[in-house]
Amino acid sequence: MVRISWFVLIAGCVATALTAAGCSSSASGSGSGSGSITLHVQGMPPATDRAGTAQFQQMVADFEKANPGIKVQGSTNVYDPMTFSAKLAARTVEDVIKVPLTEPQRLIAQGQVRSITGQLQAWDHYKEFNPQILAPLSDAGGQVYGVPQNPYAQGLMYNRALFTAAGLDPDKPPTTWDQVRTDAAAIAKKTGKAGFVAESKDNQGGWQLTMMTYAFGGDIEDKTGGKYVSAFDDAPTKDALNLLKSMRWSDNSMGASQLNNQTDVVKAFAAGQIGMFLGSPGTYRLAKMTYGMTDTASFGAAAMPQAGGGATLTGSDVYMVPKSVDAKHADAAAKWLIFAYALPAYDTTAAAEQAKTLAADPKAAVGVPTLPVFDAARQAQIADAVKPYVNVDLSHFTPYSSSLAALKLRPEPEFEAQKVYAVLDTVMQAVLTDKGADVDSLLAAAHKSVDATLSADQK
């Protein structure tokens, strides 16, 4: 009896020990004892993107050769708001994260990312960065928190085949919003497809309304007496919304389904169901590589149509260093950011090497126009260097790139952009789903709601 009890006791201990072992952290840590460190970085392309993966691995090998003592471990993860918080709290987030340009200001304001200004300033070409590109990655004190990749200005993406089918000239896409309305109506009437589709959910309705407000000459936020207040309850945003309302309900040119985010829209565009939408040339990659657009010759890109604003919204992927990363890893991370994302936008040899590797895969998209990370002259040199490897029809992007210089490039609203977008989402949804929507009262209510939120957050 006693023997059995001891056996049971030991078995219990073993069970407890096994549980404890199972619960213990299996993370190996990112450092090693010999003075070298391992850097965990987001931004590695998925395995299905063979050329992208090969190029990333080559980049890692070159970096490790140039920086003995730093090992780079790539991850296909990207910033995901659902997991980022938990990983940050558990200190298991990567040392470099890849975030869309809608996020940096919130991450900076909440102190969840590290400033890498000092490390960037140590780079010889830091002062040559395009200040417009760095502005959305900086705080009010001038501290810089990230490095951009493939920055872009928002424009009008359109289906050239549908333009032709509707009797429109695909080489002359709309440059004004009045023309957008006319062309959208023609496409809807002649082809039965949606002439123009606007996004309206997951905060992307507010994002698109911001683009339109800029193009109509308006603003989303204003800084009065050192505090941010809403600035959209005026003629430009009203005109933009009234135009959408007319297109939706009078012209019936915006398709049937109205609760869409960017994924829904690009997917439908890749399937040839949409004539025009607001986006970046980078959606070409998304349409071709993610949603299998076969008729890529139909992809056309034009600059943002205007209605008195002469401006467009900018965007990019951004690489940042989380606040949880220690100083040693942050230094290594900054070196990686310069090597992997700043240098190929500055150095023609590095740019050509990357383009050559990517072009090996016919599924890849090489040569999609981007905004200059440095100055226009440097951008032109980079464009020349990658020219032999370009596999997109650049003439279809000419209406976009030829008009960019005339537009003012504007960043996202500086303060609590996502909260503002969430409120403006409901305005966009009302206009697109309710025939009797009253734009004036919708904007007045949104203005009140946004001001209350901004005020509460600035106490």
Binding site: V8, R106, N203, Q429
Partner: protein
């Protein structure tokens, strides 16, 4: 050992071995208890780490402001005030209440009716059970993507079918008036299988004599259902009602994937708002405050419900 010997008072010479025996028994008992606790410990550790600690942490987070990196600041009831001042919170509570009401009106009787019909089927019962349970094994995301196409106002299945009989087209998810009901329809379809099987099992346990006696007394189908079947199913109905109440109050996947809370916040639910606070706005404290309020509401509702139905489910 006889009762006589048990009752005999111990002499001094007998006391020592008896005391030793008692001590040995106590030692054995202690070891058994230790072993029991050690066996229990893994479960306690797992529950503690993955269930109870997060609950405690969530509760404390409701009184803090944090960016999850720097030390959290205690802010008293600020997060609760912010949530209660947010007009969207009232909208979310209202929408959730309507969703729960619609789910009870549509989703609760549906499996009971279906199970009643299926229990009378003699041929192909297995096939019907398989077909009814099939939606449960379809991953929710896949089911929602499928139903998104059903609901498409342009080329969707529902409008195409209704169009053939001269009805529609209806906006379904695109209208604030029909969006919430559209979510309930899908979730009823997706979740009904489990409840049907439970009802079928409970119905199989009802003694046939009760139906026979009722039939001999001249009861028709409706009276047999009303006076025999439903009273026999009361405990199961009560349990499923509570489970449905709790799960529908926590509705998230449907509004998140179908509508993102739109149009015009018509499908913004409490859990979706918690998600927005935490993951879109980074207001973890407010998210925890709203979660705490929701948990307290659920606990009170459950207690009231159990108290109200205690006697009902016993009979």
């Amino acid at each position: 050992m006889s009762l006589l010997t048990q009752n005999r008072p111990p002499t001094a010479s007998r006391r020592r071995p008896l005391a030793g025996l008692a001590a040995r028994r106590r030692g054995l008992e202690t070891r058994r208890q230790i072993a029991g606790w050690l066996f229990l410990l893994p479960a306690l550790v797992i529950f503690g780490l993955f269930a109870w600690w997060p609950i405690v942490r969530g509760f404390t987070l409701a009184f803090q402001r944090t960016n999850l990196v720097d030390p959290a600041q205690w802010v008293g009831f600020d997060n609760f005030r912010a949530v209660l001042d947010d007009p969207l919170a009232a909208t979310a509570v209202k929408n959730t209440a309507i969703y729960v009401g619609l789910a009870l009106a549509i989703g609760f009787p549906a499996p009971l009716i279906l199970a009643s019909v299926m229990s009378t089927v003699r041929r192909g019962a297995g096939l019907y059970r398989f077909l009814v349970y099939l939606p449960v094994v379809i991953p929710p995301t896949v089911a929602i993507l499928l139903w998104k196409w059903f609901y498409d106002p342009g080329s969707g299945l529902f409008n195409s079918l209704l169009g053939k009989v001269g009805l529609g087209p209806y906006p379904w998810l695109d209208s604030p008036h029909t969006a919430l009901a559209s979510l309930v329809l899908e979730s009823t379809w997706a979740g009904m299988g489990g409840a049907v099987l439970i009802y079928l099992a409970a119905m199989a346990g009802i003694p046939g004599e009760l139906y026979e006696a009722a039939e001999m007394d001249g009861s028709g189908v409706w009276r047999r259902i009303w006076h025999v079947m439903l009273p026999q199913l009361r405990p199961v109905i009560g349990l499923l009602l509570l489970v449905q109440l709790i799960s529908t109050i926590q509705v998230f996947t449907e509004p998140y994937l179908f509508t993102g809370g739109g149009p015009q916040n018509a499908t913004m639910t409490v859990l979706l708002l918690i998600f927005r606070y935490a993951f879109q706005n980074g207001e973890y404290g407010q998210a925890a405050a709203l979660t705490t309020l929701m948990v307290l509401t659920l606990a009170v509702l459950s207690a009231v419900y159990l108290r109200a139905t205690r006697s009902w489910s016993r009979t």
